[in-house]
């Protein structure tokens, strides 16, 4: 069964129909790279998947479970969105770290808040003293996990630093660790290296490659074609709100079927 299944996704802003019926399935452990010219809809597609935009039409399913259905209003209630969106993680182009928290606290904030809510239930069922012990144990686990993630992105020594003290590449690696802390099924990247100085792109792509190797399911919107060729299991070319080309990196880059894809590839290579 596909880990992600998108059917007939439509999104319009005013008179501008940005997505004109996207159908897409993704297998677990695959890395999907989305390419396309700006304004073509690739970022909107990613934002729809992460519930930052509400599609006008279509369905999104994760592991066979519908998480969004334009015909089912209950899937558009914030409370339900909040639960369903945790299947996904999103790394932004502009990092969007929380400037007033240290690196470690940036990573731990969401898990800690989630724990707080869970412990309320736990307390009701098991009593206050048991809850206290359990909470201490789980907090420790959250901190350990955060430290492991920092090590994974190569920033252990920056745990106590604040975002403004980091380079763009380091900030983006922290943002990746922050997204991983919630253990999403699918990790999405919205042009993760576009805001970086050229010499900082490599360190971020290296982290992405390691994640891909470890079997993480990923969707990456990017202009880094070398990265796409090297890492992607599959590449789609989104153009004017539809998927114009879909295949392995070899098929899309070396043997594109559509004229539009050829033009695009020529313009960027």
């Amino acid at each position: 069964m596909a880990i992600l299944e998108i059917k007939n996704l439509h999104k319009r802003f005013g008179n501008n129909e940005v997505l004109k019926g996207i159908d897409l399935t993704l297998e677990k452990g695959n890395v999907l790279v989305i390419i396309g010219s700006s304004g073509g809809g690739k970022t909107t597609l990613l934002r729809c998947i992460n519930f930052l935009e509400k599609p006008d039409k279509g369905t999104i399913s994760v592991n066979g479970k519908t998480v969004f259905d334009s015909d089912d209003p209950s899937t558009t209630v914030y409370k339900n969105i909040r639960k369903n969106r945790l299947h996904f993680g999103l790394v932004f182009q502009q990092f969007n770290l929380f400037p007033h928290y240290s690196v470690l606290n940036n990573i731990m904030l969401a898990p800690k808040l989630a724990l707080k809510a869970e412990m309320k239930e736990y307390k009701k069922q098991n009593g206050a003293s048991a809850a206290k012990a359990e909470k201490a144990r789980r907090l420790k686990a959250i901190e350990e996990n955060a430290k492991n993630l920092l090590e994974q992105v190569g920033l252990s020594e920056k745990a106590a630093a604040y975002p403004f003290e980091l380079s763009g590449g380091q900030q983006q690696r922290v943002a990746i660790a922050r997204a991983l802390a919630l253990e999403p099924d699918i990790l999405c990247f919205d042009e993760p290296t576009s805001a970086l100085d050229p010499e900082l792109v490599g360190e971020v792509l290296r982290v992405l490659k390691e994640l891909a190797k470890s079997g993480k399911t990923m969707i990456v919107v990017t202009h880094e074609m070398r990265f796409a060729k090297e890492v992607a299991d599959r590449v789609i070319f989104v153009n004017e709100g539809t998927i114009a080309e879909d295949g392995t990196p070899e098929q899309v880059f070396d043997n594109p079927q559509k004229e539009r894809t050829k033009q695009f590839l020529q313009s960027i290579l």
């Binding site: 639960k83 969007n96 929380f98 007033h100 969401a110």
Partner: protein
């Protein structure tokens, strides 16, 4: 006639009493206007257009007209226009009227500062909170609030220092604050008459108090200086 050294303690005593009233008005205004301003700012940022239009119009009227006139209207209008002098003639009533006018006036100024602070937090912060599964109140309290506070401390301290001096406008409805107390020695009070220096001397009270506030706000700014952005 009393010598200056004889006058001084008497005047100081009277001015202290007046300044206490000034201080009371200042504190009551802050306690009322800080939360009311936040509510007004939410109103002016509301996506419900009629509400935001209405709130913006009120803010325009309050900020666009002199506080002195607002004081006079709040104090005299119920009695003179509606024949219902709700404030009464005593000092308590004058204080209540002054407090109402000041709270409304300053809440409108504060609301604009809040709005600027809230809208100044990049939208990416909201989205980062959303994709991490935070609730709306968690996003406000855990992510935005401190960033808003950091942004509004400098303009707020400016406005609050102005408030200290603006309390003197309550003199127009004869609230017995420090200016009123200083002025009383012109006409005669406590056996002293025709003296202008007590009125001049009231400035020292404002200066010292604002000096203290400046130091406190400086400390707060420094405390928030541990991060940037």
């Amino acid at each position: 006639m009393m010598s200056f050294s004889q006058q001084f303690p008497i005047v100081l005593n009277a001015l202290n009493v007046g300044f206490l009233q000034t201080l009371k008005l200042f504190i009551v205004t802050l306690l009322g206007a800080l939360p009311l301003g936040l509510i007004i700012s939410f109103g002016s940022m509301s996506k419900f257009k009629p509400l935001s239009k209405l709130v913006k119009t009120i803010v325009w009227i309050i900020r666009g007209s002199p506080l002195m006139i607002q004081l006079i209207i709040v104090f005299y209008m119920p009695g003179i226009v509606f024949g219902n002098p709700i404030w009464g003639g005593g000092e308590t009533g004058r204080f209540a009227a002054a407090a109402v006018a000041f709270i409304i006036n300053y809440a409108c100024y504060f609301s604009e500062i809040y709005r600027g602070g809230i809208e100044g937090v990049p939208y990416g912060q909201q989205e980062a909170g959303e994709v991490l599964g935070l609730t709306k109140s968690q996003i406000f309290f855990k992510i935005k609030l401190l960033q808003v506070i950091k942004r509004i401390v400098p303009p707020m301290s400016n406005e609050i220092i102005t408030l200290v001096k603006d309390t003197s406008l309550a003199r127009i409805i004869a609230l017995q604050e420090v200016i009123w107390a200083g002025e009383s020695f012109l006409k005669g009070s406590h056996g002293i008459a025709g003296q202008i220096w007590p009125l001049f001397f009231t400035a020292v009270y404002y200066l010292l108090f604002n000096g203290l506030l400046t130091i406190l706000f400086g400390k707060l700014e420094k405390k928030l200086d541990y991060y940037r952005g």
